[in-house]
Amino acid sequence: MENKEPIIEFQQVDLSFGSTKVLNKIDLALDAGKFYTLLGPSGSGKSTILKLISGQLQADSGEILFEGQRINHLPAEKRRVNTVFQNYALFPNMNVFDNVAFGPKLKGLSKDEVRLKVETMLSLVKLADFSNREINELSGGQQQRVAIARALANDPEVLLLDEPLSALDYKLRKDMQQELRTIQKRLGITFVFVTHDQEEALAMSDWIFVMNDGVIQQNGTPEDIYDEPINHFVADFIGESNIVKGIMKSDYLVHFVGKDFINVDAGMRPEERVEVVIRPEDLDLTTIENGKLVVTIEDQSFRGDFYEITAQDDDGNQWQVQATNSATIGERVGLTFDPEDIHIMRFNESENDFDARLERYEE
């Protein structure tokens, strides 16, 4: 993998709309055959990256490479990349067959080849019997499948998906997530998926880029990003988090809420101010005597497989707890957690420094 050239590479890519900076010095490299996700809130620049790859937008500066070739100014129709648009963008004047056949026909394939291609793609998305349907006769989920088939019919090296599932209901979205993953594995091409739904990103991706304010905040496997968020934004955006202020007394010893705790982080300056993250599912309720922290239960709601509990410690910090057993509102209880559940985030640490530090103390 190491010596293989990335299929898509961004080097210091900048883009502004008027006075608004949309992308700020973006560097990224995508390997062929993987499922990538660009994750971030709306306006974070994730769709903009997609449009730069597809050629709908042009970068102000920086390099965009496709298999090592500069493609900054290559028109959209010449790129070996296809897009599944957010609202599908199916041509309303054509039926399902003609929509999927659009690209193959333009390539000048023969009638039989076009038919074969369309039929293959439609059966890939499980719409084999729908080729004569009009677009407005299809449900949202079916339109979605046609859009995927249409993009794939062009044999792209990279498939770009711009929040394609956001218009579907919960159940359908879950099914489509699995199916997209299956299709990607079967075809073995690169998928770049844009979403603001962290759950979706964690479930589908090989690799995630978390974006905010036109900057890539952190990238890594879903596990990396969930377990070791680099900063407040990522911790808050990915999953639910309890974030409190703390001080690193020394390596493997952190001080917060008036107490010292043993943890597994190192490499900071002594007495450095940090933020401490503990995930709600890592906290357990216990007796006051056994508790590492003592809190008062404020609110509780049943969520099916757990209780979502809000509690407050004596310093006034709020704690979200996902507990298997219920509690009583107003009751004082103890909270317990393991040293490895404590995640430390430094202020203003860049992704490179973060990675370097992790590597250093893990050796």
């Binding site: 709908q56 129709e77 041509f91």
Partner: protein, 269 residues
């Protein structure tokens, strides 16, 4: 409910009768009278004689054919000029403003614009002066087929651009991006995606230009002289000059039929 029933139905009655009276007196009655006139012979009896005269005489058939032919050319010229214009305007940043500029001339009295062309196309007008200075000589531009077609097209262009522009604006710009994304260049996108989707606008544009072009008579008289005779000039001739209302009405009915056929051909599915 505490609604005062009497008052309510009184309002309702006034509304229905006001609008109904207009429909009856000014829409239905005049058309019926026109039809009735066309069926009255010179002796005052009901007859199909007028229609017989129209369809048997070569003169009137030729005139009707010419009228349709001119209207066709005017419509084609207008469409050819207007579609690219509408397409370009739709791609501009301040498109509503540019559209307004296209439309502005339509608010200027038609007579005045036609009158301007009399000056422009005259023997000593600017066009002939330009031709003269280029060594092309002076030509009789007024009272020719082409001057009539040019002036008519000039007048009709905004009426063609507007509906086409409206249907182009309604097309989701993402469709254009999708087409490019799937490998179509700009021309292929225009041909396969944009043009089919803008057809409703083209059709209503054709409707808005073809029907009035059939019946132009003022432009015909002032610019075309007596070279060009359309259904419109013929009707005016019979009503206001020769006072043969029966035959004028007959031509009117033929014009209405031509209009209905045009509308059926260009109606939306």
């Amino acid at each position: 409910m505490l609604v005062n029933k009497n008052k309510f139905s009184f309002t309702r009655l006034t509304f229905y009768s006001t609008y109904g009276l207009w429909l009856l007196l000014f829409v239905i009655a005049p058309l019926m009278l026109l039809l009735w006139q066309s069926l009255v012979g010179s002796d005052g009896h009901l007859t199909l004689q007028n229609y017989q005269t129209f369809f048997v005489s070569g003169t009137y058939l030729t005139m009707a054919f010419n009228s349709v032919w001119y209207a066709f050319i005017i419509t084609a010229v207008t469409l050819l000029i207007s579609y690219p214009a509408a397409y370009i305007i739709n791609s501009l940043k301040y498109k509503q403003f540019w559209l307004l500029l296209i439309i502005l001339p339509t608010w200027i009295n038609l007579l005045l614009k036609t009158y301007a062309f009399i000056g422009i196309l005259a023997k000593t007008g600017p066009i002939n002066q330009l031709a003269e200075s280029l060594g092309l000589g002076t030509h009789q531009l007024l009272f020719s087929d082409w001057s009539f077609i040019i002036v008519a097209a000039y007048i009709e262009i905004p009426f063609m651009i507007l509906p086409i522009f409206n249907s182009l604006t309604d097309i989701d710009p993402v469709l254009e991006q999708a087409s490019r994304d799937l490998g179509a260049n700009r021309w292929q996108t225009l041909k396969n995606v944009i043009w089919p989707l803008s057809l409703p606008g083209v059709k209503s544009g054709i409707q808005a230009v073809f029907i009035p072009s059939l019946s132009l008579f003022m432009v015909t008289r002032l610019i075309g002289g007596n070279r060009v005779i359309t259904l419109g000039t013929a009707i005016e001739q019979h009503f206001l000059v020769t006072q043969n209302w029966q035959f004028g009405s007959t031509i009117g009915v033929v014009l209405i039929i031509a209009m209905v056929i045009t509308m059926l051909l260009t109606r939306e599915k």
